[in-house]
């Protein structure tokens, strides 16, 4: 996650609190998904940005996770998500998120 984004999210959470806050990701590589999710849960793993050592504890989900995608308006799903969903391995993207959410990542 870029450094500006880390700073903005840190300020946002400090201002509004983290009650009911979740992150929804759109990356299509397991590494990209894991890096973003780890940064928001445990802090910046590269120790380069404002979230270094800052564990926000925000759980991450992928927009293509079946449990998330099924809540989206069907017409929007078809227009915005269906094509990407057809060409990526969703289970591979979701795996690191499930591990992090379960406290195993």
């Amino acid at each position: 996650m870029d450094l500006d984004g880390q700073g903005e999210i840190k300020q946002l959470v400090e201002r509004l609190g983290r009650e009911g806050v979740v992150a929804i990701l759109g990356a299509v590589t397991p590494e990209g998904v894991r890096m973003a999710a780890e940064t928001l849960m445990h802090g910046d793993p590269s120790y380069a940005g404002p979230l270094a050592g800052v564990a926000l504890g925000i759980p991450s989900y992928h927009i293509l996770e079946p449990a998330i995608a099924r809540q989206v308006d069907p017409a929007l799903y078809e227009r915005e998500l269906a094509l990407t969903a057809s060409v990526v391995d969703i289970a591979q993207l979701v795996k690191p998120l499930e591990q992090l959410r379960a406290g195993r990542g």
């Binding site: 996650m1 979740v22 989206v72 308006d73 929007l76």
Partner: protein, 42 residues
Amino acid sequence: MELRGKRAIVIGERDGVSGAAIEACLKSAGAEVLYVTTQCFV
């Protein structure tokens, strides 16, 4: 996890699903979107 009533931080990706697309999808499901970005790794 039910999206309705949740407050969302959206981290899209240019080569995947963009932040704007995710934002529209989440709003349709009743979530409040607090922050949106679309990352680019090129």
